[in-house]
Symmetry: C2
Subunit: 190 residues, 2 copies
DNA sequence: CGCGACGTTGATTTGCCTCAACGATTGTGG
DNA sequence: CCACAATCGTTGAGGCAAATCAACGTCGCG
């Protein structure tokens, strides 16, 4: 477990073993079962989760009562409701385990003290924020440019890790397509 | 000019006058005329621009040859092509002055050295990245949930600074509407 | 003045949604 | 271990938001 996060951290910033130990000791390993919630609507998201194993989804309920998935996350990703976590405002979204998962939980208050004790961590999370931003910009661009069918083929080709482990109706939701129409798209190609 | 950026910096992190001076001295004031480009497609974006005055747009050319605006920026915003700037990859987008503008230009290499000399700046740009991320997440959510007409009224109500100074076809492009349909929407409400 | 940039209108088309119904598969309690 | 209920995916009919295409009006500017 420690090796996994150490290798992740050192991908972006060099930490020595003592630093890793100090930071790692502040993280709390937790498990959640399939369908269990890490966060519900109206709660303030106090934690950032590093996924050791499993898949998680972030979604909200739209005006018609339908779930709309805004993010999937998998092994070695940090996941939280960014807006709620950063601004400490009530979440409009749910964070839920799609499979049984294991995560390392980092609380906001712990993170703030760690920033002061270990300035390098500030750099790490600046880089992480930048990477998340770029990922989100790319996703927006994708949705701007592509029709439903293209989005689906893109998903299957570039996000196959999810495509194989997530039910179809969740893929449809993430791709902003109705399950019915996704079904039609799948029929119309071989 | 210095006062403007000082007040901006101190909104997020406390810098003393010496620090502001040191950082400010590394920024280069530049002006661009209306329609002048700060960045063109295929170039690597080496600068991050702090807008002192004016409006800038970020856009790409889609497969049909139409301009698609992904971002407007105005006084006291940082603007760049994040992906190109961070990853040092060729830009797929153009950055262009919508009006005559004045900016403070900060090069990537300068920023990297400043991060080391002034660790507080790392914190500032972590916070800026987080804020940009949140703004982008909000924008995506908006587009996910709203129909064209709602997007337009939202734009007029919440981004009136732009609505008044930007031609209609650019607003249409930003809102992912054809100019024709936007025109129709405007007709159908008084 | 004349040209190009910008906005408007109307006719037609289309991508995708809604609703309703029905198989197939999974899982759970008796 | 079977029965019945959810859950999940598929089909088809009908409808609507918004795009496309083509043409025309208008204004500002060189």
């Amino acid at each position: 477990m420690k090796a996994q996060i150490k290798s992740y951290f050192n991908r972006y910033v060099d930490f020595n073993d003592e630093e890793i130990d100090a930071i790692y000791s502040k993280l709390e390993e937790k498990t959640f079962q399939k369908k269990e919630f890490l966060l519900k609507e109206n709660m303030i998201c106090r934690h950032n989760y590093f996924i050791l194993k499993g898949i998680v989804r972030l979604f909200y309920i739209d005006s018609k009562g339908h779930e709309k998935i805004t993010l999937f996350a998998i092994d070695n990703w940090w996941v939280t409701n960014m807006e709620s976590f950063i601004k400490e405002t009530p979440s409009t979204q749910y964070l839920q385990a799609v499979e049984d998962i294991t995560v390392l939980s980092l609380s906001k208050t712990t993170l703030e003290t760690l920033y002061i004790e270990h300035p390098k961590l500030e750099r790490l999370f600046r880089i992480i924020a930048e990477n998340m931003l770029i990922a989100n910009l790319r996703k927006s661009d994708l949705f701007l440019q592509m029709k439903s069918k293209e989005r689906y083929t893109f998903f299957v080709e570039h996000l196959s890790a999810f495509a194989q482990r997530v039910p179809q109706y969740m893929i449809a939701s993430y791709l902003e397509i109705t399950p019915e129409y996704l079904s039609e798209l799948r029929r119309n190609r071989h």
